[in-house]
Amino acid sequence: MKGIGALIAIVVITLLLRSTALTALASRGVILDILAFATVMWALRHRESWGSTFGFALGLAADLDAAHWMGRHALALSLLGYAVGRLSHTLVRDSVRTQLALLFGATLIHQSWVAAFEFGSVSAWPYLLQRVLLAAVATAPIGTLLVALLRRLSGQPLFGHAAIEPDATS
């Protein structure tokens, strides 16, 4: 029950930030992909089941808000949540490099998928490519910095190290 409450709270906060503080940046062409960021962070902390559930819930809410192409965010984010959750078993989750790479990759995939729906003609691809790359380049370092800041404020690792699987040592 506590987990569901936290999931709803994070989904609400993410959507709030997306529709208020981040719109001014987005209209200037800099998209901070907070949907991908929140999904990656949640999946790193709670593994694949919760990762995909979070991604789906967040994506569905974003789809409803957008009014067009229902299911596009939900599909991409649930797959991303699952993939990051699975990877979190073997990765050092508190490593800055891991977070940077995961955020970069997740943003790149999510934004590419979203951009594919706006791909009206071949002439659009340079703009969309630039938008996708800019989003990934902006989201990954800012997201990593934010996590580092949260870690410093909390005084303890946010994720802990990868679990040592019993089968791996046998």
Binding site: S27, D65, A74
Partner: protein
């Protein structure tokens, strides 16, 4: 991923399959679902929170804006006197040639509670709804220019489709010359507003103002829409490709106005 990862749990794989199937189903049939009521519920839940988040940003901006508005008010007072005289003259001239008199527009101030869409907002949640007299189809504008029209109305909130929505079409004219066209939002090769349907024989220049023409029943005539940024030739070679920069600053919307419809017997605007 199986090589260096532990085996996947059956539960998580089943969940992923369920979510993926649901998402694909929504992609295929989602547009046919009645989602307006869900969005209305979302707007009601999110509005107080949106206001809370925005209040911090708006308080800081209000101080700077107040100073600027004082100056603007003084300028407008002077201009208002001049326009009143011109209006009077216009009314007399219209009367002389037998044209019906112009009516002003009735504006209802609203707060822009939230914006949707990336990179450019395509929809906005407004702080007034059915109870305040807002109706589907009402035009929405900001102090700088046209924003769009009301698409969904809830009891005390409304959702507006902005002129950047790919499905919007607005009948416009070039202010100084009266050249007519339809304003569309295009996503390729990049998001932009384009005035379409303007023949090559009509002269349109960069910097000219675009206003609503009044030929659409949704938008009253004379609302500022944007400025001509680029003039080219459309791919078919038959009409012009006129790029328009919106007058309203869509990324920084705080307040707007719903253009209320005239009551019965008030006649056209």
């Amino acid at each position: 991923m199986g090589g260096f990862l532990p085996p996947a749990e059956r539960r998580s794989s089943a969940l992923l399959g369920l979510y993926a199937a649901l998402s694909i189903l929504l992609l295929l049939a989602g547009d046919r679902l009645p989602t307006a009521s869900l969005r209305g519920l979302g707007a009601i839940v999110f509005t107080p929170l949106d206001r809370l988040v925005l209040s911090v940003d708006r308080m800081a901006g209000a101080w700077r804006e107040n100073q600027r508005l004082h100056q603007r008010l003084a300028e407008l007072e002077v201009e208002n006197v001049r326009l009143k005289l011109s209006g009077l003259e216009n009314q007399q001239l219209r009367q002389q040639i037998g044209l019906p008199a112009w009516h002003g527009v009735d504006l209802k101030p609203v707060e822009i509670v939230a914006l949707s869409g990336e990179p450019i907002p395509v929809a906005a949640t407004l702080s007034a709804g059915h109870q305040q007299g807002v109706e589907v189809g009402d035009a929405v504008m900001a102090q700088d220019g046209l924003l769009g029209r009301v698409s969904e109305v809830y009891p005390s909130l409304a959702r507006a489709v902005l002129l950047t929505d790919p499905n919007s079409a607005i009948a416009c004219e070039v202010e100084s010359t009266g050249v007519l066209g339809i304003l569309h939002s295009m996503t390729a090769p990049r998001p932009r507003l384009v005035l379409t349907g303007v023949p090559l024989s009509d002269t349109v220049r960069i910097g000219q103002q675009i206003v609503t023409s009044g030929f659409s029943s949704r938008y009253p005539r004379g609302i500022r829409v944007g400025t001509v940024m680029r003039v080219g030739r459309e791919t078919s070679g038959l009409t012009q490709d006129i790029e328009v920069a919106p007058s309203a600053r869509l990324g920084r919307l705080r307040y707007g106005f719903v253009v209320m419809r005239p009551g019965p017997g008030e006649g056209p605007r």
